[in-house]
Amino acid sequence: MEKRLPIYCPSCNNFLDVEAMNCQHCHTKVVGDYKLPPIMLLTAEDQKFILDFVKASGSIKLMAEQMALSYPTVRNILDSVIEKIKNLEN
């Protein structure tokens, strides 16, 4: 089963922060208060789009071919992801 990274609080629906990290090798545990980076706060679909976009060397044309969508449609998805990241940063 694929585990999803929880980003929203089930109680108040605000973004969750990271409190503890664990080394799988030596079992050292780091405890603190860390914010998730804006990319991690995007939906899984948007994160996949960013990954694929980087793998396609930032080529909208190549992305359009891979996604079987038109160039302006892919550019519009990219614009909406940029807009979401900007809103998360502010």
């Binding site: 079987a68 969508l69 038109s70 160039y71 302006p72 449609t73 550019r75 519009n76 614009d79």
Partner: protein
């Protein structure tokens, strides 16, 4: 169903331009015989010309006018860096339903100014009304395609998309009529 009103999520740019050009050639070839002149962005009238050139000129002027004004609206009202090839391709493809209008033109007789003075002289038939109504539906379909072309290529949404599109369409229609009526063909 969504695809016939908005194929532009899948087709744009050079591909839309080539498919649109294919439909344009077919439309023009038929319109020469059915005498359907597309003398405006959303106009179609039966006008018998001797040569094919007026039909070609009217079609190209109308297409360039709508592409130009939708592109200009995009430059003014949208932050997106769009490509002109997408606007040109998708607007040309939006005119594909005019192929059906050019076929319907066979059932619509030419009405000259003298006949318009005395409407009883016009030989109205059931075919005339059916073809006219069918042409109207196809032109509405073309306008819907223009709108979706604008929405996808310019990345504009909501009420802003609607009113800027209406404004661009009116300006394009007016400009195309000015250009077309300044040309005198036989």
């Amino acid at each position: 169903m969504a695809f016939i009103f908005n194929p532009f999520t899948k087709i744009a740019g050079g591909k839309a331009l080539s498919i649109g050009a294919f439909f344009a050639l077919m439309t023009l070839a038929i319109s020469y015989f059915s005498h359907s002149a597309f003398d405006g962005v959303i106009d179609s009238h039966v006008i018998p010309f001797i040569s094919i050139w007026p039909y070609i000129a009217f079609y190209i002027i109308s297409w360039l006018c709508i592409a130009l004004f939708l592109g200009l609206a995009g430059l003014v009202f949208s932050k997106t860096r769009f490509r002109w090839i997408d606007i040109l391709g998708t607007t040309l493809l939006s005119r594909a339903p005019l192929l059906l209008v050019s076929i319907a033109g066979f059932a619509i007789p030419y009405i000259d100014k003298d006949q318009l003075r005395d409407i009883t002289q016009i030989p109205f038939s059931a075919g005339f009304f059916i073809a006219s109504f069918f042409s109207l539906i196809c032109i509405i379909w073309t306008v819907a395609l223009y709108y979706n072309s604008y929405r996808v290529c310019i990345n504009i949404k909501g009420a802003k998309a609607v009113w800027t599109f209406i404004m661009a369409l009116i300006l394009a229609e007016f400009t195309s009529l000015v250009f077309i009526h300044s040309i005198h063909f036989k």
